[in-house]
Symmetry: C2
Subunit: 307 residues, 2 copies
């Protein structure tokens, strides 16, 4: 087997810029990803907060190609590749592996509800078998509040045992710390547990986890990354509280439109405000209030406006 370094640290589901015609804007995405890497945050492009499922597979392949063509580091990339359709997931996963992405973040098929563990196992197994590449490193994506289809501990264990070289870890966006803790306790060999947000970053690191994959790392990457690097130091609890304070403000608004409004403001580029349906842009007055609240906390996105 190839010796593949599994991922750890802080990653973010990079928000996806759309132009006035609602088409993905590769140039702006490259800029944003380059800035995120400069802040020591990895690229979980095509996550929930990337509006990944609002884009076609072809659009996602084009964006991923643009990132790689721009010379961004594939060893920091974990694109989301899980779609409803087996053939879509397979196509996007294969492409990510062919580009050398360090991992993929894979939702289960999420249209049918109350599906069996056998069916979900088969979904992942088919993709692994058909990709047929030891370089495929799957990070499972457990996000029952949105997908409404979750991954049980038994299912994960079954996958880890059947495909120890391909099942690399998980992003736990259940919001349930007990679930994250239960996975950490299982102690699967080199299985990387990522918290679904920085709210659990200190706890997941104390429990032996790998880091977090967080929406708010789109706008607050340096501070989140700092905690990851110093979680064992005396300042950690205070850092966690500060992160929680920023997150609490953002969470008063719809997350994706709010993140985009913040980037649009710091970049002075209104185009970043645009979301695809079924989401709606943050209204101007809400955006102004959000920026005011963040300003009161001394919030900044260093280096962004100066690019």
């Amino acid at each position: 087997m190839p010796n593949i370094e599994r991922l750890r640290g802080v990653l973010t589901p990079v928000i996806t810029p759309f132009d006035d015609a609602l088409l993905p804007d590769a140039g702006r995405l490259v800029d944003q990803c380059r800035w995120l890497l400069s802040q020591d945050v990895g690229l979980a492009v095509f996550g929930t907060n990337s509006e990944a499922n609002s884009m076609s597979v072809g659009e996602k392949i084009d964006l991923l190609d643009a990132l790689v063509d721009a010379g961004l580091d594939t060893s920091r990339m974990m694109p989301g590749t899980g779609c409803c359709a087996l053939t879509d997931s397979l196509r996007l996963t294969r492409h990510a592996v062919s580009l050398g992405c360090a991992g993929v973040l894979m939702l289960p098929p999420f249209y049918y509800k109350d599906v069996s563990d056998d069916g979900l196992y088969r979904s992942y197994a088919e993709i692994i078998e058909r990709t047929g590449d030891a370089a495929l490193q799957i990070y499972l994506y457990h996000i029952p509040p949105i997908a409404n289809v979750g991954l049980s501990l038994d299912l994960i264990e079954r996958l880890v045992r059947a495909y120890p070289h391909n099942i690399a870890g998980i992003k736990d966006s259940s919001g349930d710390w007990n679930n994250t803790a239960a996975m950490l306790e299982r102690g699967w060999d080199d299985f990387r547990v990522f918290a679904g947000s920085e709210s659990f970053l200190l706890r997941v690191m104390q429990g032996g986890g790998a880091g977090c994959i967080s929406a708010t790392a789109n706008v607050n990457p340096a501070a989140i990354s700092r905690l990851w690097n110093s979680w064992n130091e005396p300042t950690a609890t205070r850092q966690q509280q500060d992160l929680d304070g920023i997150r609490a403000i953002v969470q008063e608004y719809p997350m994706i439109p709010a993140l985009k409004a913040i980037v649009a403001s710091f970049r002075d580029d209104r185009c970043w405000r645009t979301v695809r349906p079924p989401l709606v842009n943050l209204p101007d007055d809400a955006a102004a209030r959000l920026m005011e609240q963040l300003g009161e906390k001394g919030f900044d996105m260093p280096g962004l406006a100066r690019q």
Copy 2:
């Protein structure tokens, strides 16, 4: 505006045959669709029970092309074209319109939950505006138990008023008769209300509805169609009870694998048993029990084995 005849009657979300490699089998689908038309049932291909969201847009386009190339009647076709991604829905919808399909059945984007009516309105509006073809006849697809994203009466009214020539009707799979009744009572001009199953067929016809789009019409088309044709006759209540009896048996099993097992049995073609992940095939013993239960009711699929 072109004078487009809107759909009515009984349609079925045609189950999709997959080969041993789990790829869609166009030949078998054409056979099945031809038989369904011979039983007076229209083709709502790519519905929930078609495993539509388990297929890529490209696979669906190829299947639709195969049906049209085989000479099947596009005036009886209402393919499902609603995907999570705006660009996917748009591509498939445009293709269906270009082929002359009488209508399309359109799910809302279903990944994000708790989205606003404004966002859902925008989803449909973008597709209508970008398709830009008066021949586009959208039947909305309301199936909150599975999509977990529903269409409110206010949203429907807003769409009907904004796009009276494009919003043609709805399939109500809420399972809530009060919701269906409320739509019938609104009396929108030539708005076609389809019940989501034959369980409500008699009631929807008595209330001025258009018919039903039912999973079990895959296997029991003639009897369901007979009730649609004679709902105003004295035998209607008895017919409804008989339909309910057959449906109750099928519903003891997972619906899609059960429908496929029934067709596989009557066609003596095991290939029909295959479902794509995340679903799982009906086990042999369950299939045998299902066929036995149906046999006790004298259930038949006339003409199928003789094709």
